[in-house]
């Protein structure tokens, strides 16, 4: 299994191929379209992430010692961003998720692509991902 660090490095390499923001956005849009949708039953208030302009649902469960996430959003760009986060953090051990240093976000320029309010949404997503890992890891 690839580590969080290895996947981050792959994503950084992916983003190095892009010359401008439009290619980055198109990539994010494609990732958003490919994101496996969350099961309808998990689209509940408890799984809704606050602080996003668009609605984001996040669900997590433990499978064979790893935390597996699924997510959805009504906005495609947001879906793309969460798809990247899940590529890094889904299917990992709870303590690895909690301790993950997500330096790739700055390196691929994701934060600077996002305005302050949207960057807040990104922070909320990461927080919720880590909170799920914390809660499920304790069991």
């Amino acid at each position: 299994m690839e580590t969080i660090k290895e996947i981050q490095e792959e994503i950084i390499e992916d983003f190095e191929m892009f010359d401008d923001w439009m290619q980055k956005y198109e990539f994010l849009i494609d990732l958003g379209k490919e994101l496996t949708p969350i099961e309808e039953q998990y689209k509940i208030e408890d799984n809704l992430i606050k602080g996003c302009q668009s609605r984001v649902w996040l669900h997590a469960e433990e499978k064979n010692g790893s935390i597996v996430y699924s997510a959805d959003s009504d906005a495609i760009m947001t879906k793309g961003i969460i798809a990247i986060l899940l590529r890094v953090l889904s299917n990992q051990k709870s303590e690895d998720i909690i301790n993950a240093d997500l330096s790739f976000i700055d390196e691929i320029g994701l934060k600077e692509q996002l305005s302050a309010t949207r960057a807040n949404g990104l922070v909320s997503m990461i927080k919720k991902i880590k909170l799920f890992a914390l809660a499920l890891g304790k069991r």
Binding site: W21, Y25, I29, M77
Partner: protein, 404 residues
């Protein structure tokens, strides 16, 4: 005819780049940009005039007070108020509505009714919810019609002898609807109730005459009319402001203070506790002068032309739906494209240098009414051009291509 390029040259921000592109600023409903004269007035105050108002006997205090009061007189004229002490300076429209709602909390009794509408900005909903909760009054809501106009028949049915106050917007910030406030004011007064008009979106677009309108309260914000942030106006009829209890206690608003009891100052000071935003108030005059120089009728005429053009161009994009198609509309276009979230459109056009607003525009009940998460909103000002509309339309088409 207005010389738009001359007008644009007065706004330094309009020549800056955003994301490497020329800025196209279409978020005027949120706040307008500021002309050099307003920026200069604000900075000149701090450089040459700074002093507290209505306090000292020294030269600067007198100068600051004169200039501060000059803005009050300018606004009195601008909105056709009978007296200058009917102009209360506030932090903005939100603050003005809260001032009135706070006062009415003491005047309302259980069973009394306050009427607002479904199209109100949250700042004209929440203060009344708080006011009703604390006074035991009931809140009634005028529903919206499909085209974004108020349901005037239901409004008439909502009015009764229990109605004590009606509070509606002059222009909807999310839909652009210009409400028939003359009719609303007349009908409200026929029941003996008072009326507040939220003029935040109207004051720089429509000629106002308080004595002709006969509104009891009318409020607006300087920053939506080329003036500084943090300054607003509550207009109120003298006799009603005299009845209304004070909002905040502090300096300036008192006549005499002792521990056995305090008496309050006369209007307008009764409602202006503490040191106000002096620089902002003084600079607000420069904004009103700017509007007066252009002529508000000329502004309205030009904005109407832009609105017609932008509406017809945007409707050429397949899948576009405009929310708010009232017969009388201001320069606001709220829209969605079928199958696309407004947020995604906003994010992409932003990269092309265009500032539009996306989201619920602080009007969640409207979004609920139309069963949508939000809209993308173009809101126009007098410095905008048809060329900018073309750039924006092309950007929206580009966004649509990327997203579908």
């Amino acid at each position: 005819m207005l010389d738009i390029s001359k007008i644009r040259s007065q706004f330094p921000i309009l020549s800056r780049k955003v994301n490497g592109q020329d800025l196209v600023y279409f978020d005027n409903g949120a706040t307008t940009q500021k002309p050099q004269a307003v920026i200069d007035a604000e900075s000149n105050y701090y450089a040459n005039e700074n002093s507290n108002v209505h306090r000292g006997v020294h030269f600067l205090s007198g100068l600051a007070t004169d200039k501060f009061e000059e803005t009050r007189n300018t606004i009195q004229k601008f909105i056709g108020a009978k007296h200058n002490h009917e102009i209360i300076f506030t932090k903005g429209t939100t603050d003005a509505i809260n001032l009135v709602a706070n006062g009415f909390r003491a005047l309302l009794n259980k069973g009394d009714e306050v009427v607002i509408s479904e199209m109100e900005h949250h700042s004209n909903i929440v203060p009344w919810q708080m006011c009703c909760e604390q006074s035991g009054a009931n809140l009634k809501v005028i529903p919206l019609l499909e085209n974004g106009e108020l349901d005037m028949l239901t409004f008439e049915n909502l009015l009764s002898e229990n109605t004590k106050l009606v509070s509606v917007s002059h222009i909807s910030n999310a839909l652009g609807t210009i409400n028939p406030i003359e009719e609303i004011i007349k009908k409200t007064h026929a029941t003996g109730a008072k009326i507040l008009i939220d003029g935040a979106q109207a004051a720089s677009h429509i000629t106002l005459d308080m004595q002709e309108l006969d509104a009891d309260f009318y409020c607006f914000s300087a920053h939506k009319m080329f003036g500084p942030t943090g300054v607003g106006v509550l207009y109120g009829k003298e006799e009603i402001l005299n009845e209304l209890p004070p909002y905040q206690g502090g300096g300036e608003m008192i006549k005499e203070v002792s521990f056995s009891g305090t008496t309050y100052a006369e209007l307008p000071h009764k409602f202006e506790a503490g040191t106000p935003n002096i620089a902002g108030v003084i600079a607000f005059k420069a904004a009103i002068d700017f509007i007066n120089d252009l002529g508000i009728d000329q502004i309205a005429k030009y904005e109407e032309e832009l609105l017609q053009y932008a509406t017809s161009e945007i409707l050429k994009i397949k899948g576009v739906k405009i929310y708010g198609t009232a017969e009388h509309k201001s320069g606001i276009i709220s829209f969605n494209i079928e199958g696309i979230h407004p947020y995604d459109i906003g994010v992409i056009v932003d990269k092309l240098g265009i500032a539009i607003r996306t989201g619920h525009h602080c009007t969640q009940p409207i979004m609920e009414r139309f069963n949508i998460p939000g809209t993308a909103r173009i809101s126009l000002a007098v410095y905008n051009t048809k060329e900018e509309i073309d750039i924006c339309i092309n950007a929206i088409i580009k966004a649509k291509q990327m997203l579908s």
